[in-house]
Each structure stands twice: as C-alpha cells, then as structure tokens.
C-alpha cells in the first residue's frame, strides 16, 4: 500500500495550518526584498564611487553565496554580536536579503530604462533629487519590471522550505515531523510538493496576465510620453 487516503485526510489540516507560516514568511520576506532591492539599486546608481562599488560588491557577494548559509549565518553568527533573533525572523531577513539583491538588478534595469531626458527635464524644472526619484523616475521605472519582480516572488516562495533547517515550523518541517511520527513520508512530502506546484503554477499564470495587462497599458499611458 503506497498511498493511504485516510492518512492524507488526517494530516491535511495540520499541513494547511503550516502553509500559513510558509505564506507569512513569503510575504514578509518579499516586502523586505522589494524595499531593500530598491535601496540597493539606487545606491548602486550613486555618483559617489565608493557607495556604488560597495553596493555592487554587496549584491554580487549575496548573489554568489548559498541562501542556506546566509540563513545559518544570521541565525548562528548574529547572536555572537549580541543580536538574538527568533528563527522565523532570522529566516525572513535572510530570504529578504538574498532576494533583495536579485530584485536590485531588476530595479536597476527599470531605472536605467527611464529616458535620460526625464532626468534633464527634472533638472531644468529645478526639482530636488528626492522629488525627482519619488515623482518622476520611480513611477516610470517600476511598472515595467513588475512581472520580473513577480518571478522572484515565486522563487522566494519556493525557497521557504529552507527555513526548516533552522526549525521554523513551516510546511516542509511539519511534513518531516509528520513523517517521523508515522514513518510514512510518501503522503506528507508528496502533498507539500503538490502544494508548491499548484501555488507556483497559479502564480505564474497570474504574472502572465499581469504582464499582458501592463503591456497593453504601458504602450500608451494616457497619451503621455
């Protein structure tokens, strides 16, 4: 007997409760990544050499080391400096940091695609750099890159099982505990796999819709440009 439906119904409520933690971690991590990514992208565009090089070095470093080690680093090393974080917070920060550096590349593409004339016009109108960014550049730079950011949201969602390594009770950890209690790993792990597959297929379909919508509206944004 490979597949026991009774057991499936028995564990489904527990897994659904755990999926709430997974989704929380995804959303919190992504909010952090989205904000941090924008900050890193703007720092990287800075005219001051050492700021942009530091930001670029930071992004390259984060992007070329495994997120699991970063999770361990924040969870195990930060306490040595007196910063003790609960497992969930450490995990969310690590995921946010890792995907923030990916997102910064996406933002950078968006920012660099804003025509130079927009900057020149802002200078001509005597707008401060802050106002220029907030009211002129960001509103034009962000919408075209929203689908790419969405892809990273899905990628971050698929990385949340890593939090099981620092004992956050998310889906994967719950499935492993259920498996070790009953010695039946087939159902819990397959259900978790199915959950991720369905969620990411739905999200991918949603992003495609969004992309089509943005393509239609951005072609002619109210006759402007």
């Amino acid at each position: 007997m490979f597949w026991d439906w009774n057991y499936v119904w028995e564990i489904t409520p527990t897994l659904l409760r755990a999926s709430v933690v997974t989704i929380q971690a995804t959303l919190l991590g992504f909010v952090l990544a989205a904000v941090l990514g924008l900050v890193l992208a703007i720092l990287r565009m800075s005219k001051t050499g050492w700021i942009s090089v530091t930001a670029a070095g930071f992004v390259e470093f984060i992007r070329s080391t495994p997120v699991l080690i970063q999770i361990f680093f924040i969870f195990f090393v930060f306490p040595e400096f007196g910063i003790v974080l609960p497992a969930m917070a450490a995990g969310v920060i690590a995921l946010g940091l890792h995907y923030g550096s990916y997102c910064s590349e996406v933002y950078r593409a968006g920012l660099e695609n804003v025509p130079k004339g927009q900057w020149e016009a802002s200078t001509a109108l005597n707008l401060s750099p802050y106002i220029t960014f907030r009211d002129i550049i960001i509103p034009q730079a962000i919408p075209p890159v929203v689908p790419a950011l969405g892809n990273y949201l899905v990628a971050l969602f698929k990385e949340t099982p890593l939090l099981s390594a620092i004992a956050v009770l998310e889906l994967m950890q719950t499935a492993k505990i259920l498996g070790s209690q009953s010695f039946r790993y087939v159902e819990p792990i397959t259900l978790v796999g199915g959950f991720f597959l369905v969620m990411s297929l739905v999200a991918a379909a949603f992003i495609r819709q969004l992309e089509a919508y943005l393509n239609r509206t951005l072609r002619n944004p109210g006759g402007a440009r």
Partner: protein, 240 residues
C-alpha cells in the same frame, strides 16, 4: 560588464580571508572544510553534467518530439520548475525507498539537483535554439539536409554560443543549491561547517570561511564560463 565589482569583491574577501586566517585555531577548521568542499565540487560537477544532458533532451523533446514525448517533457519542466529543490531532494531521499528504490545520498543529491537545474536549462536551450536566425533553417532545407542533421551541424552549434551566459548563471545556482544536500546527511561544506560549529562554537570563523569558499567557487565558474564564451564566440565569428 560586472567583472569590476566582482573583482573588487573578490579582493575584499580575499583580504577578509587572510584576516580570518590569522585567527587562532584556524588550522583546525581548514582540512575538514576542504574535505567538505571536495564533496560540494563533486556534486556540482555531477549535477551540471546531468543538468546539461536533461536540458538538451527535454528541450529537443518539447520542440521536435512526437506528441506524447512533448507532453512528458512539458510535465518534467513544469514539475521541476514549480516545486522547491529541497522538496524534490526530500522526495527522492525519503519517498523513493517506500517504492523499493534505494539510492545512496550522493546519487540522490546529483539526481535531484541535476533534474532541477536541467528543467530550467531546458528553457534556456529552447530560447537559444529559437534565437538562431530563421534563414539558417531555410538554408539547411535548401541544401536538402534532414532536420536532425541540420539541428546537429547548423543550429545547435550557433545556439551553443548564446546559451553559455545563462548556463553560467544556472551553474552558479546549482553550486548554491548544493548547500541543501547537507540536509540529507551528505557531509558537504555546509554539513562540515555545522558539525564543527556544534563541537567548537567558533561560529564567526567557520561560517565566514564557508561563505568565502562558496564565493571563490562561484567566481571560478564565472571566469570559466567567460573564457568558454570567448573561445566559442571566436569559432562562430570565423564561421561567418
């Protein structure tokens, strides 16, 4: 284009590594961590080879295969891109034995990571093949080449050049994903680090060294792929 920040970064961390190396007791960690790094490298190489093979097969099946084969390839790509690498690893490790398939952890690691990255790679291959100019196909037809021959002699060699940079990214993804295999009892770099951390509590040194080792490995992949790209592009330019 990104070589400069990378170089800066490498230099900064090389000095950081030197600074770390002056820490007392540094010598006790290095041999163990290098053993772990050897396992990490083995899995990376094995996984990359499997990924390239799977990507080529899946892309060819998806583009030119008969219908059932095409569905199979689509299912493979969607399933492996749609679920987490860790879930796939655990599935192969914990679930397959229930079906009577017992693989040793190394095989599981290489298979899971290779299949995972291969699914992403299939899309890379497909994109690169589609990017080859239509005229090349038409010329092959005009020269009365069978499709398989045209694909092998004309299309794939040109697609190969376009594929190299995205494959470089995927190989780095794979290298980073090998950290996951520590969770299925393989004593790779990450596993060794955790083990040492639990016995010595020298957390800062150990995890910093580990980060630097992973960074060095990925810089190695970047440099290797860039060299390959230069050589491959040179061949193509002569062909034109």
């Amino acid at each position: 284009m990104q070589l400069r920040p990378l170089a800066v970064c490498a230099i900064v961390f090389f000095t950081a590594g030197l600074a770390v190396s002056s820490f007392a007791g540094f010598r006790e960690f290095i041999p163990g961590l290098l053993q772990g790094a050897a396992i990490t490298i083995q899995i990376t190489i094995g996984g990359c080879l499997l990924a390239v093979v799977m990507a080529l097969i899946a892309a060819m099946a998806k583009m030119y295969g008969p219908l059932p084969l095409r569905w199979l390839a689509v299912a493979y790509i969607e399933v492996f891109r749609g679920t987490s690498a860790l879930v796939q690893l655990f599935w192969l490790f914990f679930v397959l034995p229930h079906f009577g398939v017992n693989l040793d952890p190394m095989t599981v690691a290489i298979t899971a990571l290779g299949l995972n990255v291969g699914a992403y790679g299939a899309e890379v291959v497909r994109g690169a093949v589609n990017a080859v100019a239509r005229g090349q196909w038409e010329a092959s037809v005009a020269l009365n080449m069978p499709r398989a021959l045209a694909l092998r002699r004309i299309i794939l060699p040109q697609a190969f050049v376009a594929m190299i940079p995205p494959w470089g990214n995927l190989f780095i993804e794979l290298l980073k994903a090998t950290a996951l295999v520590s969770l299925i009892t393989i004593s790779d770099l990450t596993f060794k680090a955790q083990q040492m951390n639990q016995t010595t509590f020298r957390t800062i040194e150990i995890f910093t060294i580990v980060l630097v080792v992973y960074l060095a490995l990925s810089v190695l992949i970047t440099v290797g792929m860039r060299t390959l790209e230069t050589f491959a592009a040179r061949g193509i330019a002569r062909g034109r």
